[in-house]
């Protein structure tokens, strides 16, 4: 890790003032589980670290009439332990359960989980976010891409977004609030995620001098939700594909469906076609399977990740069936 200076402000105003106008000036430290690894691997080398954990207003989870407010500093463990969340938003709880390390859950924050950087092994080995060789040629399409993107992978980004919570939150219609020098910005979480076009871009709409302050999830009355992860190990492991599904029900028929896949694309991936096929239908094995197929309609495998198409189809199918059963597996 390269040397840096460290500050630990107590208000969000102080925090953003301490941040820089470019990414190499400063990084936000929250849980630290990803950031410190990135710094040890030399993927980022900020001159200053701004620890936001002492900013009290960023903490806490509250459920009320307007839905759910998750402070950016709420930990994954707090999310898991929150009864209101598991009762009304099983998709979120199930996504959090997939992060099987209690240590990561205790340190890791929601804000950090959404802003974590790709686990692409070329990126982590120092080939840059877009993983190119010295001549600028991309390494992923002809390299070992077994864990890379099957959707949105026309380039130049081939990695998958690593967030486990984002698909669930997007499926449930969450918004994200950011705070920067110009005050508060709010946007759909779906729009928060972006696909980088250059190696200096990031994977979110966050600017270098902004922080995530909270996530707002609307009430889930009449909504059935679930997350299904295809993950190899019970030990801490990255999913190979995930799907989160939220079904607004009218009786036993789906009124509106939202389906979001994770670990399949450089950003959480909304499956619009699949959502439409569920509308006004009762959930059956056949409908769920059809949705799974449609969800992967535009998928393109790289040289050795074709199997992920199958995994994502299964994840979508199983998440839909789970959601219809009220979030039970």
């Amino acid at each position: 890790m390269r040397a840096f200076e460290y500050a630990s402000p107590t208000t969000k105003e102080q925090a953003v003032s301490l941040l820089g106008n470019s990414w190499d000036e400063a990084e936000v430290l929250a849980g630290g589980t990803d950031l410190l690894s990135l710094m040890k691997d030399g993927c980022v080398a900020p001159k200053r670290l701004v620890n936001i954990k002492e900013i009290r207003e960023l903490r806490g989870i509250s459920a009320g009439g307007g839905g759910l407010r998750i402070g950016a500093l709420a930990t994954i463990q707090e999310l898991l332990d929150n009864r209101a969340v598991s009762r009304a938003y099983p998709a979120i709880t199930q996504a959090a359960e997939g992060i099987t390390s209690p240590q990561i859950r205790s340190l890791g924050t929601i804000g950090g989980e959404l802003c974590q950087r790709p686990r692409c092994w070329y990126y982590r080995a120092g080939y840059g976010l877009l993983a190119t060789d010295e001549q600028g040629e991309p390494l992923v399409p002809s390299g070992d891409n077994r864990y890379h993107a099957i959707l949105g992978n026309a380039g130049p980004a081939y990695f998958v977004h690593a967030s486990s919570l984002a698909p669930a939150l997007i499926a449930l219609g969450a918004k994200v609030r950011l705070f920067g020098p110009d005050g508060v910005r709010e946007m759909w979480l779906d729009q928060f995620f972006t696909t980088p076009l250059t190696a200096d871009d990031r994977e979110t709409a966050l600017k270098p001098n902004e922080i995530v302050t909270e996530i707002i999830v609307p009430t889930a009355l009449g909504v059935k939700s679930a997350t299904y992860e295809v993950r190899q190990r019970e030990a801490l492991d990255w999913p190979l594909a995930t799907a989160s599904v939220a079904l607004s029900m009218s009786g036993d028929r789906v009124r509106v469906a939202r389906i979001v896949m994770g670990h399949v694309a450089p950003r959480p991936w909304r499956a619009a076609e699949a959502e439409q096929v569920l509308a006004e239908k009762a959930v059956t094995e056949e409908v769920a399977q059809k949705a799974g197929e449609l969800a992967l309609n535009g998928a393109n495998s790289l040289s050795r990740n074709g199997y992920k198409i199958q995994l994502a189809r299964v994840a979508v199918k199983r998440a839909i069936l789970m959601a219809a059963r009220g979030g039970r597996g």
């Binding site: 890790m1 390269r2 040397a3 840096f4 200076e5 460290y6 500050a7 630990s8 402000p9 107590t10 208000t11 105003e13 102080q14 953003v16 003032s17 301490l18 820089g20 106008n21 470019s22 000036e25 400063a26 430290l29 849980g31 630290g32 589980t33 990803d34 410190l36 690894s37 710094m39 040890k40 691997d41 001159k47 200053r48 670290l49 620890n51 954990k53 463990q77 099987t100 390390s101 209690p102 240590q103 990561i104 205790s106 340190l107 020098p181 001098n209 019970e234 030990a235 801490l236």
Partner: protein, 220 residues
């Protein structure tokens, strides 16, 4: 730096060669012991480093002081400055759990916490679970069930199990299977660990020894 950030020489009062510039952050090259205070958003905020700064850590109930750079992790501070080497550095990337310590009642990877951030927190390591020479029930259960071989993952595992049991005093086998996913062992001691957690929870007597043609089941 943006806006009205002003620098005020305070803290250690040592001289610095480089100051914050308007357009961005520059690092001071010489070793600065202590901190400086800058004014941001109408408040004074202390900025530490990049050189060594004094820190105070509360570990196993005792207060320790040391001087470390901000880039030193809690794990490295424990090992190098406090000579508490129970927590091990193995993956150093928040994966394997060998560095697990308890911070304010929660299990954390000390490789992924900066020493500076850990100030003001109650830190407990495997060494701190002892009461004098008496082993903690989890430690005793690790011995009774031979939940260690080379033992390099063991202190971290013991700590993880202790916090797990604090939260789940009567775990089901399935909860044990799912609740300890943050620690890895290379020798393969998980059968012993599962049994140790169950024993520590229930305080049931140790398996009886002796006998030929023994069959041992590591299911649970």
């Amino acid at each position: 730096m943006q806006r009205d950030e002003k620098m005020k020489e305070k803290g250690s009062g040592l001289s610095r060669r480089t100051f914050l510039k308007v357009s961005g952050i520059s690092l001071s090259v010489p070793v600065v012991l202590g901190h400086r205070t800058i004014k941001v958003a109408g408040a004074e905020v202390e900025v530490y480093g990049p050189g060594k700064v004094p820190i105070a850590l509360t570990v196993n109930g005792a207060k320790h002081t040391a001087e470390v750079e901000p880039r030193v992790t809690l794990l490295e501070a424990l090992r190098h400055e406090l000579d508490l080497t129970g927590a091990k550095r193995v993956c150093d990337r928040a994966t394997c759990g060998a560095c697990t310590v308890i911070m304010d009642g929660k299990p954390v990877y000390s490789c992924s916490v900066l020493a500076l951030e850990a100030q003001g927190k109650q830190i407990t390591t495997a060494e701190g679970l002892l009461r004098g020479d008496r082993l903690h029930p989890v430690q005793q259960a690790f011995i009774d069930n031979d939940a260690q071989q080379c033992g390099f993952c063991t202190p971290g595992f013991v700590v993880a199990c202790k916090v797990f049991l604090d939260k789940n005093p009567n775990p089901t086998p399935e909860e044990i299977q799912k609740g300890l996913g943050g620690n890895l062992c290379r020798c393969g001691t998980y059968v012993g660990v599962r049994a140790a957690v169950a024993q520590a929870a229930n305080q049931y007597p140790n398996r009886k020894g002796g006998g030929n043609q023994s069959t041992s089941k590591g299911g649970r």
